[in-house]
Symmetry: C2
Subunit: 564 residues, 2 copies
């Protein structure tokens, strides 16, 4: 473990010297040999199943002693990181009895354990289930039950925050096993996760693991809030994950000189694929447990960050931070979840943050569409940055490994005319689409039709081929980059004895883009029901971002307005 | 058609302004809509067959009016280029009766027709057969016969050079159809190829073409000289070509701001995959009919070249050209076919040419291994560029979409120890391997064994995982980046009445790396047989580079030495 400090004052060559070591000493051939996968003799030589694990094994060989993961003041080289993954896979198999096809949950912030589990769980033949860290206890319980996880790797933080109660889960899911990650980089001997890893030093090698070897098998189930209340489990395949890895590597121009700061939650579509991509190119990932704008600026200024990703809400806070200043080198930023405003794009450019707007869903591995890049639009509006920013706010085109994005008439399933006014539903097909919703044939059947995945998002197609969302067909509220189901919030509010009816819609919000607005009718003319009670009830039963409510109470035909 | 001129004196933004136009006017939606592929209703939404044609259709939409191909002073935008591909596909189907699975040859220099045919032939459901432009008439005839081409797109140049005789071919292959490319950019109405394209303005759209839709089908057959005399047809699949496209795009860091100069012959492994890759990223390809060092330096200095590729022989000539001078921006260069010398690497770096050494075979889509990059080796030998260059001369590691490269004991098929001294045979597996040799079950069976493709190249594996070739197990001579079969040259020489026996081996050559050395025993003590006669006989029957002979005649137990 070595320190990872990189000052801009150092020359580029010096920076490379510090951050890139592409080889190991001459005595480590046993490690190199241990990375080998065997082929079955019946396998044809010209096809290997696409599996992101191959990227890790390659980078462990090529970038052995280069920093892979940096967390606080601890650095894991690719060798250390890879060895930790192998130990975790062995621990899952030996100590937790994980079987092929089991679901294994990850409830962690952006810490090394998340990245390690992303590779170790499939390496053990199991399917990973990343949890949204903002879910409330009841929601976590629902996802645990629905996915049928046999084991969950859970960070102590979520026990402390009472999102997870060990005692309660032991009653509800008697066979569930928890692996606690204390997240104590300085005192690993006090961390059960680290103790597990330390124990598994010399069991199976990679070639002995029960790898799945079917590129169309499910690698990950990512629960997401859609229109229908309960989160749905998006099934991600090995093939899709592999191709999306190459896809985002090309579009975000990452390489072995890249340093990514983890501002985006890793649970969101497996970090939009960048957990795999950064490993594939041999880059360095800087952990950030959760959004902390002081830390972001410290990292941007002193740790050689070249890339970060996040929703416009995050970009806004980054730009308006007191430490914000123009960076000496360009940092590439993907922004998704909502459109960037002209003001924000210009502010980012002034700080040398180069934004690219992406659009996608959990159902599409994250980013599947990309807008014009404003610096590539000079010919169209050479003197008008505002006009270029406006073009950039469109959802744009499919990315290179995705099929064309279609805008289809929901009745005829035919493409709408490309005239910028005819409205249709955004539909996807191809290798960057989910396989279906886990254990949910009804929702799967509703979502796939005529060979396409129907998103519910309504859009027009312009004559230049770009698509632009005009409305959401489903009752999804997007607040700070998170999906909120109107129906799910409604269902929680109507559980209150005092409530007769409730309707939740998305309303505009300067900071979060949208917030849920709840229209509530008390069960009887009950003047005692207060908006605060409703908000507190939601907070107790829903993720915090879903409870960030405006409540409008109908009382004797008067509307009473209350905001959190 | 617009001029493509780019001066270094212009600012980077200005350069982008000239070279990148990412959209079209608002009235072209019919073109955009024409690019659409239909899905079969029975197709699952989450899998699309990987097909490089998708890259072209996407770039036609995203980079519609951006320069795609530049040839002399003619530029084709992505729209024009794509329309020409569609017209050619229609012409092949309607005027030449091309059927699904037919073989269609390409015998062209690095001109737009080659790139267009690369997309149009598979779009017509056929298999492309790129011809090495250096083959002699008899060799071309052999490949035509073996591949069973129904049609060949042939540049007038090869009729003029007498490599192709229309009359003779008409006798040998009565049903063969030729499409002549006059290569007259200034007077297209005099060019039969252009007349064909002009005729097919409004027939089938992309969705109406007989696309193959099977990613494991054969896309291209690339004939290569191996150890056994006659060229063998390497079968390349859609899946492999698609993955190699993404693979080289990542490794050579190409993007929509890239300008590639075609110094590498396009017939070599489909331009090492860059014909597809440059299209996938929306870059610009500068044609260069054949190697011309004056033109190379003119392009490097005035046309914004960011990338070129070639064998060390080419790098050497580039570096030693009178126009050579340090470029204001870095140009990335892949070099393959033989190792770069320390002197040459240093010379290239001094000119701001950043070399990366690649290794591969036609059987692996071109580059499948990549060496250390010397600028990433500072930590190992910070003060010793020579030592870093020496490390770079190794063949290195597998590229990101390739499986690990194995060095196997030919007897046991087990990996040799990674000790830098144990010698084994380089073996490949995975998605960047050919499917087999076309119509050649014997050679295919010899090449594939135990699930691997056996290359015949002998190597060691070092403790850091890098591989390094120590000898070639097969009788292949690599001269100026071209493979020469010893056996093939021997077979031609022994056709001479005056020759009794002959052995050909590779010998060192300062300019070409290797040259064939022929040891010849006359049939009877015939003092009249001259080395010149042997060389002339070879020139008449072999590609020029194969006839670049040293001849050693055994005369009465004396060795008589003669060189071309």
């Amino acid at each position: 473990m070595t320190d990872f400090v990189d000052n801009d004052s150092k020359s580029n060559a010096q920076r490379r010297l510090n951050t890139i070591t592409t080889h190991l000493s001459g005595t480590d051939h046993a490690f190199i040999d241990s990375l080998r996968l065997e082929r079955r003799p019946d396998q044809v030589a010209y096809i290997s199943p696409m599996d992101p694990l191959r990227f890790l094994l390659r980078s462990a060989m090529v970038y052995t002693n280069k920093p892979a993961l940096v967390h606080q003041n601890v650095t894991f080289t690719y060798r250390q990181f890879t060895e930790r993954v192998l130990r975790l896979a062995n621990g899952l198999l030996d100590d937790y009895g994980v079987q092929t096809g089991d679901r294994v949950g990850i409830l962690c912030q952006n810490i090394p354990s998340f990245v390690e589990a992303t590779f170790a769980i499939p390496a053990a033949g199991a399917i990973m289930v990343p949890f949204n860290t903002r879910l409330a206890a009841a929601e976590i319980e629902y996802v645990l039950g629905h996915s049928g996880c046999s084991t969950v790797i859970v960070q102590q933080f979520f026990l402390d925050s009472r999102q997870v109660s060990v005692d309660h889960l032991a009653k509800v899911f008697p066979s569930l096993r928890l692996i606690i990650v204390a997240d104590l980089p300085q005192t690993p001997h006090l961390d059960p996760y680290e103790v597990l890893l330390a124990k598994h030093t010399s069991s199976r090698l990679w070639r002995d693991l029960p790898l799945v070897n079917d590129e169309n098998a499910v690698l990950s189930i990512n629960y997401t809030s859609g229109s229908t209340g309960r989160p749905k489990g998006v099934m991600v395949t090995y093939r899709g994950a592999y191709l999306n890895t190459l896809n985002v590597a090309i579009h975000d121009a990452i390489s072995n000189t890249s340093v990514m700061l983890w501002t985006l939650p890793m649970f969101h579509c497996n970090g939009w694929g960048f957990i795999w991509s950064m490993v594939a190119v041999g880059g360095t990932q800087l952990m950030l447990n959760k959004i902390d704008y002081d830390e972001i600026w410290k990292s941007l200024k002193t740790r050689g960050v070249t890339h970060y990703n996040g929703a416009p809400t995050v970009q806004n806070e980054v730009c308006n931070h007191p430490e914000a200043e123009r960076l000496p080198r360009t940092v590439r930023v993907l922004s998704g979840g909502a459109a960037l405003s002209n003001v924000l794009i210009k502010k980012m450019l002034s700080l040398n943050l180069q934004p690219t707007q992406v659009y996608g869903l959990t159902e599409t591995y994250g980013p599947i569409a990309m807008s014009f890049e404003p610096w590539n639009l000079h010919d169209r509006h050479p003197d008008d940055l505002d006009a270029r920013c406006k073009l950039m706010a469109r959802q744009g085109f499919n990315t290179v490994a995705a099929d064309e994005i279609r805008v289809l008439d929901p009745t005829t399933a035919l493409d709408v005319p490309s005239n910028g006014t005819a409205i249709g539903e955004i539909c996807f097909s191809g290798n960057l689409n989910m396989k279906g919703y886990y254990n949910n044939p009804e929702e799967t059947a509703k979502t796939f039709r005529a060979g396409f995945l129907w998103t519910g998002d309504l859009a027009v197609r312009h004559a230049d081929g770009t698509i632009e969302i005009v409305d959401r067909g489903k009752d999804v509220i997007v607040s700070g980059g998170e999906n909120i189901s109107s129906l799910e919030v409604e269902n929680v509010i109507v559980q209150m004895d005092q409530v007769s009816e409730c309707a939740v819609i998305g309303g505009p919000d300067e900071k979060w883009g949208e917030r849920p607005f709840a229209f509530v009718v008390p069960r009887k003319p009950d003047h005692s029901l207060q908006a605060d009670e409703i908000i507190n009830h939601c907070r107790a039963n829903l993720a915090g971002y879903k409870a960030r409510l405006y409540v409008l109470l109908e009382i004797a035909r008067l509307i009473c307005f209350s905001a959190l």
